[in-house]
């Protein structure tokens, strides 16, 4: 902790010294996941290079290896990255283990207000402990898990008639999770233009975080809670509540009755592939991919539309997205902070959104033109209003792997019941929190 304080003090002194005239041009390295928004950030950062004289290098890691690679880097005190756009769940470990520079003094000195960013993103991406005003990151990329579908199929008269006949209602974007399943089941193994298509692509990946990110898309709308009282780690009756059991059974039914064959270990890439190849009528994925999907020449444009994760007992979407942090082991923290100052500028944030990044700045989100600026912009705003995130504890990786195992064992491997899976999950999590000294 002493080290973090030192870095924070040095950050402040550098900040107050002023960045306008950089003493020397630095080679900065920014680390993030390899995906569409990363390319947009490369484009955006050219402006920073021109303004500051610094050179930006990028280290983009494919999602399945991102956490492994980056957490190893941080845990070993490596200085590969000067700036890191790390997953929201890493904030607890980043703060408590001294990996991230605390930014409060820097924000104060530079007049950067967290009040200028969407509350949900500040809470999820920047603060530790949760709800405090200790900031370790600037919201960089708002994101949530949403849905997209084949609008052209939904508009076809023959398909609409068949759906009406099968269900007694109009084929339209689902308003509840159960409607979502009904639509997916309707499309499952249906012949369209001589090809067999399937209901929906959902997340079932075992190795990293896939199935957890997918199943929480069902758990949150059913009212799932991690604790009875926030901060109490009292999970009995919350994690395995009747609503949670029902949601988990729902996800398993979805997997078994409405996904393509062989869809046992699938995440973002597989979801995109299934949709773009015309294999599925609907797919879940992160909003971050939606600009690319809309621009796709084969399945984008008029053929695609988007909707928020449907509610059931309540609205609820799984939070994605990340904040940008300065790595405490970097020896170029002054230049890294300069980048953050530049990135926080409302004009830069507007360009970020225009290029395909999801700004979390209120100046962008509250602009009267925002909702109409992209076909998914309104859905994004709606989703961000009801997001929930996984544990953000320092032991998050352990908590996540336990959930991956228990959920995959039940949903894909068909072992035990939903209640047993959630009971075992509580046992695993209890053991982790006991080891952490929190129980």
């Amino acid at each position: 902790m002493k080290y973090s304080k030192l870095t924070a003090v040095s950050a402040l002194s550098l900040a107050t010294a002023g960045f306008g005239a950089s003493a020397q041009a630095e080679d900065l390295t920014l680390c993030w996941a390899a995906w569409d928004p990363a390319n947009a950030l490369v484009e955006l950062s050219k402006e920073f290079e021109a303004q500051s004289g610094h050179t930006m290098n990028f280290e983009f890691i494919p999602w399945p290896n991102f956490a492994d690679r980056m957490l190893n880097e941080l845990n070993s005190g490596g200085n590969l990255c000067d700036l890191l756009i790390g997953d929201s769940q890493w904030i607890g470990g980043g703060a408590e283990n001294g990996h991230y520079v605390k930014l409060n003094d820097f924000f104060d000195a530079e007049g950067i207000s967290m009040g200028d960013f969407a509350d949900a993103t500040v809470y999820a991406y920047s603060t530790w402990p949760k709800g405090s005003e200790n900031y370790y990151a600037l919201p960089a990329m708002g994101d949530a898990n949403g849905w997209f579908y084949r609008k052209d199929w939904f508009e076809r008269d023959d398909i609409r008639a068949a759906f009406q006949e099968a269900t007694g209602r109009e084929l339209a974007e689902p308003k509840t999770q159960k409607e979502l399943l009904e639509i997916a089941q309707f499309f499952q193994e249906r012949e369209i233009d001589g090809q067999t298509v399937y209901g929906a692509a959902i997340f079932t990946e075992r190795g990293s975080e896939g199935i957890t990110m997918g199943v929480t898309g069902a758990l949150y709308p059913w009212g799932f809670k991690y604790e009875n009282t926030p901060g109490s780690y009292d999970m009995e009756g919350a994690v395995n509540s009747p609503e949670a059991v029902e949601a988990l059974e729902f996800y398993k039914e979805f997997y078994e009755t409405a996904t393509p064959p062989g869809y046992t270990n699938s995440y973002m890439g597989e979801s995109l592939d299934a949709f773009k190849s015309g294999q599925v009528a609907m797919a879940m994925n992160w909003f971050a991919f939606f600009p690319g999907l809309y621009a796709d020449p084969n399945t984008g444009g008029d053929k695609i539309d988007f909707f928020v994760n449907p509610p059931q007992n309540q609205a609820g979407s799984t939070l994605g997205g990340q904040g940008i942090s300065v790595v405490a082991y970097s020896d170029k923290q002054d230049a890294a902070l300069e980048y953050i100052k530049w990135f926080a500028d409302p004009e830069v944030q507007q360009k970020w959104w225009d290029l395909g990044g999801y700004s979390a700045h209120n100046a962008v989100l509250e602009s009267p033109t925002f909702k109409d600026s992209a076909p998914f912009a309104g859905d994004f705003l709606e989703a961000m209003g009801a997001v929930q995130d996984f544990w953000q504890e320092p032991a998050y990786a352990e908590l996540l792997l336990a959930m991956q195992k228990r959920i995959h064992d039940y949903v894909v491997a068909d072992q035990g019941t939903a209640k047993e899976a959630l009971d075992k999950l509580i046992e695993d999590w209890t053991e982790t929190f006991e080891d952490e000294g929190k129980l």
């Binding site: 845990n75 190795g207 064959p261 062989g262 270990n265 320092p394 195992k405 995959h408 491997a413 072992q415």
Partner: protein
């Protein structure tokens, strides 16, 4: 004077070096030669092993270097040995180990026996057969994933051709009952050539005159096979089993590529589980105990096996 390797080495020693070591005893010279090796052995093998044993009695986490480390006695060992999930991983490993070795030995020996016969294109066939073991496990894992794909995978279509089943009606990597076999098939495909090569070396080491003597004694081919070929190849075969056993006990990359340990934890072998504990959950103390248990298991089994191998050799 008779020319020996030692005299040749002595003559080849530069005069400056020779002067320096002139006053040293043989024992001292021996230590000079052996010392670096012993130092390296201690530094990269023995010290880490002792350190791991030490860590296995603690609650140390490598991602929390500042956290106070407590000695927890045998608690890590107790937790591992009483964890039913870990026993399921052990069972998955045992299934994988047993069936890969059985299939590789049977197929490998058969191939070696056939390749050992003199026929046209013998060398070409040998090269073709050994190709799979030259590939990277990551590459093999990836392309077998495509072969196992229920909708477009060649494997499913071949099975469908012979059984009349719908190719997309079964999922080799996704079904609990099939996934353990899917990894056995791929490992067998990849590593049978290795067993074949070792068996081939064994077969080619049998002198022709033994078979000629058997022919003179009017021993049948069947009798020759069981009384000459099998006993004389047996030490080679046992060596192949030892190599494959140790390798497959540590199997990681191929299975991670194919199934990631799934569906559920059906193909989560101990090495995959250990990696998750050590480098994803960062329970370093616990993972050290886990590694020690696995090390003792492999070392114990290998020692018993090597003794049996030596007995077979002595026969």
């Amino acid at each position: 004077m008779t020319e020996t390797p030692i005299t040749r080495a002595a003559r080849g020693t530069p005069p400056t070096v020779a002067r320096k070591i002139k006053g040293l005893s043989d024992r001292a010279i021996a230590w000079i030669f052996v010392g670096p090796t012993i130092f390296l052995l201690l530094a990269v093998n023995i010290f880490p092993l002792i350190w791991t044993i030490n860590l296995s009695f603690t609650n140390f986490r490598a991602n929390r270097p500042n956290r106070e480390v407590e000695y927890v006695g045998l608690r890590n060992y107790e937790r591992i040995l009483t964890d039913t999930d870990i026993w399921l991983n052990m069972q998955a490993t045992a299934h994988f180990l047993f069936w890969t070795i059985v299939l590789q030995v049977l197929i490998g020996f058969t191939l070696a026996y056939l390749i050992n016969k003199k026929f046209k294109g013998n060398d070409l066939w040998t090269t073709i057969i050994v190709l799979p073991m030259m590939l990277s496990p990551a590459v093999v894992g990836n392309f077998w994933k495509f072969l196992y794909q229920p909708q477009i995978g060649l494997f499913n279509y071949i099975v469908a051709f012979f059984t009349g089943k719908d190719p997309s009606s079964f999922e080799m990597l996704g079904q609990v009952n099939l996934a353990p076999w899917s990894i056995v098939i791929v490992d067998t495909w990849m590593w049978t050539p290795f067993v074949m090569l070792i068996c081939l070396a064994g077969l080619r080491s049998i002198p022709d005159y033994i078979y000629e003597a058997a022919e003179i004694d009017r021993a049948s081919k069947w009798r020759q096979f069981w009384t000459i070929t099998v006993p004389m190849v047996m030490p080679f075969l046992m060596l192949a089993v030892l190599f494959r056993g140790i390798e497959n006990f540590k199997m990681f990359d191929l299975v991670v590529q194919l199934t990631g340990g799934g569906p559920g934890s059906t193909t989560e072998l101990t090495s995959i589980n250990l990696k998750r504990e050590a480098f994803e959950k960062w329970r370093t103390g616990y993972a050290s105990a886990y590694a020690i248990i696995l090390f003792v298991t492999v070392f114990g089994l290998a020692s018993i096996y090597v003794k049996a191998l030596n007995k077979v050799k002595e026969r």
